[in-house]
Structures are given as structure tokens and as C-alpha cells.
């Protein structure tokens, strides 16, 4: 089902992507690729530019220079909503649900870009609108089941516990029928049980043919689920490779823990 050939062009590719906030180089000439059908993780210490990179990919920010291409097409200057309709959906680090809307409505919003009904058609319930609404609702329920949400669909999303809110957000992103889903710390703030429940969910997405790109701090999750990892530090890519390679990479260890001082060699070992 997810046959991956090295020869197949990458689903997402960045070319010399840079982002400057004033004098701060949040991202400095990032080149990376995401292969179709794989799970790729981006890790790095706080402030290393992970979320900035995600914001650029999903159209929330415009990069200072460089290019992002998705399935071969340049999406660098597209506004966020067009990037969604071209096939990339995302979740947020600090959950951004629509608090006053019900769980079901939140997920149905995700399907917006795949629906057609305009002002007139919706207002007079023109042919097909009711069927479209019905399909959208059924789909939303399916997506909520897929991510393992169990709870009241008619409840306002602000009343949900934190872990459930994450699931609803994931379901909302899935409703957009993405080919690439971008997850910004999908387990931030979750407890261990919830985190471990997320692991099979992420794999399930990949098995459905959705490419997954995620930022994650939880190393157990990253090492368990990711097939390829890119490490950012201070806006620069310092390593990229399989989980084993990254685990043993000296630069990565240094980025997280700092350099070992040779003078204390004895005491440390």
C-alpha cells in the first residue's frame, strides 16, 4: 500500500529556506525533503526554528527567502487557506480549536476546502447542498472515530479535557483530506497514557497514505514512530537521518546537552 521508492520525487521540499525576524535568523538556508508516505520528525532545542518552519510550510508566515514546493508545485507565496486546499493540513502546538463551536462543527470546518456550497446555494438549500452537508457530517464522525475520540459531539470544544482537544484538532486537520499532515508537538501536555495512544494513531495515518511531518519533544515517541529525523539548532540543520543515526550523532547530543569539557573528562566518565 505504501510502497516507497527512492526514485519517487519527494512530496515536500524546501530550497534554501530562510526566515529573519530583524537581526535574528530564525531559519538559515534550510534544505530538506519529505518522502511520500513516510513519517518524518523534526527535533531540536527550544527556539531552534521548528515551529517557524511549520508556519512557513503552512502559509502562516512568508519566508525571507527560499522556496517551498509541495508535490512539485511552488507553494511559497500561497495564503494558508490555499495551501490547505492543495493538500497540507496542520495542528498547532498550543491547541487552536474554535472554542464556541461544538466538537462536530469544529471537525466539519476542516472539510471546508473540500465543499462547494456558496452563499446562494446554502441559503436556499439548492440541489446537493443537503447531501453535501450530510456527507461532511458523516466524514467528521468517521475522523473522530479514527483518532479515537470518545465523547459528546454536541459539546462546546472549550469544555473538553486537554487530551481530547488534541484529538479533535487532529480530526479537524484530517477532514481537510490532506496528503501531508503537519503535526506541531501532537503530544505536548499529554500524559504518558495519552502519548502512547498517539503512537498507533500516527502510524494509522501513514497507513492511510498520508505523509506525516511532526515536531516532537518526546524522544520515546520520535524514536518509536519516525522513519527519518531532521535536527535543527539555532535555525540551522545540524543533522538528518534515521533514528539510529541521530541517536548516535555527536552534534545532536551537543546541541541538547552541551559540549563535554575535556578538563572534566575523568569526573564525567
Amino acid at each position: 500500500m505504501n510502497s516507497r521508492h527512492m526514485s519517487e520525487p519527494p512530496i515536500l521540499e524546501t530550497k534554501d529556506l530562510s526566515m529573519h525576524f530583524g537581526g535574528l535568523k530564525a531559519l538559515d538556508k534550510i534544505n530538506f525533503q519529505v518522502a511520500r508516505g513516510c513519517i518524518k520528525a523534526i527535533i531540536g532545542p527550544n527556539g531552534s526554528g521548528k515551529t517557524t518552519l511549520f508556519n512557513i510550510i503552512t502559509g502562516a508566515h512568508q519566508p525571507s527567502s527560499g522556496r517551498v514546493s509541495f508535490e512539485g508545485a511552488d507553494i511559497t507565496s500561497l495564503p494558508g487557506f490555499k495551501i490547505v486546499s492543495s493538500g497540507i493540513a496542520r495542528t498547532f502546538q498550543n491547541i487552536r480549536l474554535f472554542p464556541q463551536m461544538t466538537v462536530l462543527a469544529n471537525v466539519m470546518v476542516g472539510n471546508h476546502s473540500r465543499m462547494k456550497g456558496g452563499l446562494w446555494a446554502s441559503g436556499v438549500r439548492w440541489r446537493g447542498i443537503s447531501a453535501e452537508e450530510q456527507r461532511c457530517e458523516e466524514k467528521a464522525i468517521r475522523m473522530l472515530e479514527l483518532v479515537g475520540f470518545t465523547g459528546d459531539l454536541k459539546m462546546k470544544s472549550s469544555g473538553l479535557p486537554y487530551g481530547s482537544q488534541r484529538l479533535v484538532e487532529l480530526a479537524r486537520a484530517l477532514s481537510a483530506e490532506p496528503r501531508l499532515i503537519v503535526l506541531d508537538e501532537p503530544t505536548a501536555g499529554m500524559n504518558t497514557t495519552e502519548t502512547m495512544a498517539m503512537l498507533p494513531t500516527i502510524r494509522k495515518l501513514r497507513d492511510l497514505g498520508i505523509t506525516v511531518l511532526l515536531i516532537e519533544h518526546n524522544m520515546r515517541l520520535v524514536m518509536g514512530v519516525a522513519e527519518s529525523i531532521m535536527v535543527l539548532n539555532g535555525g540551522q540543520k545540524i543533522a538528518e537521518g534515521s533514528p539510529e543515526e541521530i541517536w548516535n550523532d555527536q552534534r545532536v547530543v551537543e546541541a541538547y546537552l552541551g559540549k563535554r569539557d575535556p578538563r572534566y573528562k575523568v569526573a564525567c566518565s
Partner: protein, 321 residues
């Protein structure tokens, strides 16, 4: 689940029956019929306001401006061009829709309170123009002696009763339209924009476009309300739809329940009636309403309908236990 056609049909039929029964009871009393007309008109105006403010979250303190434009467009068309009701309705919809588009465009890049200021300014500007452009609007003299419009051919409305049927029908149609819109892809887009614009954008919603839709819808509802008001009052002055009115319509929406079509209907009906009951208070009425709106905003932000629904579901849950 799905679309509650039965519920909609029920609402529509109830409203129709009520609007046909009441005039037969009060046929001799034109006061009540005028009051009912006024309720219908305010329901339309409040519904428009609810779309932009209650659903889309863009605070509009200039609804009176749209109503005034609708009313004056209708008046000028009636006096100079035609008295055919469909044409007049279309004319006021087109003109207010265009104005709504312009106001919407100027509000696109603004947030929260700045939109409130812009729409407030818009309402004030409309009023000043209507006062000042004496050649067209006859300034503070207003436009008087507006005849009843014709429906088709030479079939003209005969009086308040006929107008009541027309207004009830238009109100129901517009309510159904609004109900359909807010329960569709568009309504969800409006609410998503109200709750979180960035998340809405990154969920695939073209935020500026849907804000403009909401503005245009709000303006058109205001315009239709203004158009019908003109035939109910048979005259129009610049100050009729001034700041007082804009605030009154906001109050109707907040009282009944923001972000709920039926809430707006409830608020419009209640305030129109209480406006009549409190008439002896004259200008002190506004003091009462001012205090009322503060109390509602602090203690029952969901509005009366929201509280009623909560109470209803509380009772039914108790009964089920």
C-alpha cells in the same frame, strides 16, 4: 441528524398562521398591526446584525446606516421611478449590498474594537450625508407621503393589513435563508472566523472573502428592513436610523442571544413591545435599556434564549433521571 426540514417547516407554518390569525383578531386596531409590522422589520434587521456580529464576530455599530440607505433608496425610487415592490426590494438590496461590500473592505484589515469604530463612523457619515444632501433627500424635512407599493402590475397594497402579510412572508423567507446559511459551510466559516482567524485560515477558510459575505448579508438584511420600514411609516427622516437605532438593534441581538437566529427574533420582538410599553418614559427609555444591556452582558451573555434553552435542557435531564 442532517437538516431539520421538519423543524424549519414547523417554524415557518407557525409564524404564517400567527401572522394571519392576529390581524383577523385585531383587524379594527391598526396600532397592533403596525406594531406587528415593526416587529417583523426589526427581526429582519436584527438577523442581519446577528450574522455579522453574532456569528462572524465583527462588531457592527452602524446597522442603522444600512437601514437608512435601504429606506432612502426605496423612497427615492418610489417617488421618482417606480412603485413596484419587487423592483424596490431588489434596488435596496443591490444598493445596500454594494455599500456593505465597501464597508466590509474597509474593515478587512482591522480587528475587534477598530471595526466597531469604523462601523460607528459609517453610521454617522450616512446620517450626515442624508441631512446635508438636501437636493436629493430634502434634509431634515425628510421624504414624506410615500404611497403603498404595487406587488405585481396594478395590484397595490391596501393598508397595514396587506403590508403585514408582505412583511411576514419576507421575514419568514429571510429567516429561513439565514437559518440555512448559518447551518451550512458558510455559517461554520463565519463562526470559525469569530473564534480564531488564524486557525480558520489554516483550516482552509478564505477569511477576507467570508467576512465580506457576512458584511454583505448584514447590509442587505438592513436594507430590506429599511425598505419595509419606509412603507410602514410612510415617511423617512435622517435621524430615524441614527446611532440610537444602531445601538437599539445591537441590544435586540444581545438580549435575545448572540449567535442564534431565533435569539435575535426573540430579542427584536421583546424590545419592540417594551419600547411601546415604556413610551411614557420618553427619553429616559434609553437609560433603562442602557442598564439592561449592561446587566445582560455581565450576567447572561448567552441572552434570554440561551438561558431558556439551558433551563429547558436542565428540566428535561431532571425528568429523564
Amino acid at each position: 441528524m442532517g437538516i431539520p426540514y421538519k423543524k424549519l417547516l414547523l417554524y415557518g407554518l407557525t409564524a404564517l398562521v400567527i401572522s394571519y390569525l392576529i390581524p383577523t383578531f385585531f383587524l379594527k386596531n391598526k396600532y397592533y398591526i403596525n406594531l406587528l409590522n415593526l416587529i417583523g422589520i426589526y427581526i429582519i434587521i436584527t438577523t442581519g446584525l446577528n450574522i455579522i456580529t453574532g456569528y462572524c464576530g465583527q462588531i457592527n455599530i452602524g446597522q442603522g446606516g444600512f437601514c437608512a440607505i435601504g429606506a432612502y433608496t426605496t423612497a427615492l425610487f418610489t417617488l421618482h421611478i417606480t412603485t413596484s415592490l419587487p423592483v424596490l426590494l431588489v434596488a435596496s438590496i443591490v444598493v445596500t449590498g454594494l455599500v456593505g461590500l465597501l464597508v466590509g473592505i474597509s474593515c478587512l484589515r482591522l480587528a475587534g474594537t477598530y471595526i466597531a469604530m469604523t462601523t460607528l463612523g459609517f453610521g454617522a457619515i450616512v446620517e450626515v450625508i442624508l441631512f446635508g444632501w438636501e437636493k436629493l433627500t430634502r434634509g431634515s424635512d425628510g421624504l414624506r407621503d410615500i404611497p403603498y407599493p404595487k406587488i405585481v402590475g396594478s395590484l397595490a397594497l391596501g393598508g397595514e393589513e396587506d403590508l403585514l402579510y408582505v412583511i411576514s412572508l419576507i421575514t419568514i423567507v429571510l429567516l429561513l435563508f439565514a437559518y440555512n446559511v448559518v447551518n451550512s459551510r458558510l455559517g461554520r466559516a463565519f463562526m470559525a472566523i469569530r473564534d480564531d482567524q488564524l486557525a480558520a485560515n489554516l483550516s482552509g477558510i478564505n477569511v477576507p472573502r467570508y467576512k465580506l459575505y457576512a458584511f454583505i448579508m448584514c447590509a442587505c438584511y438592513g436594507g430590506i428592513g429599511g425598505c419595509l420600514y419606509l412603507f410602514s411609516a410612510k415617511c423617512i427622516f435622517p435621524e430615524v436610523f441614527g446611532l440610537d437605532f444602531s445601538i437599539l438593534s445591537l441590544m435586540m441581538m444581545v438580549l435575545g442571544g448572540m449567535g442564534s437566529i431565533m435569539g435575535g427574533v426573540l430579542g427584536a420582538a421583546l424590545l419592540t413591545v417594551s419600547f411601546e410599553l415604556l413610551r411614557p418614559l420618553k427619553e429616559y427609555q434609553m437609560v433603562v435599556y442602557g442598564i439592561l444591556i449592561v446587566i445582560i452582558a455581565i450576567f447572561i451573555p448567552k441572552g434570554l434564549l440561551g438561558v431558556g434553552m439551558d433551563a429547558f435542557s436542565f428540566v428535561t435531564r431532571r425528568l429523564q433521571k
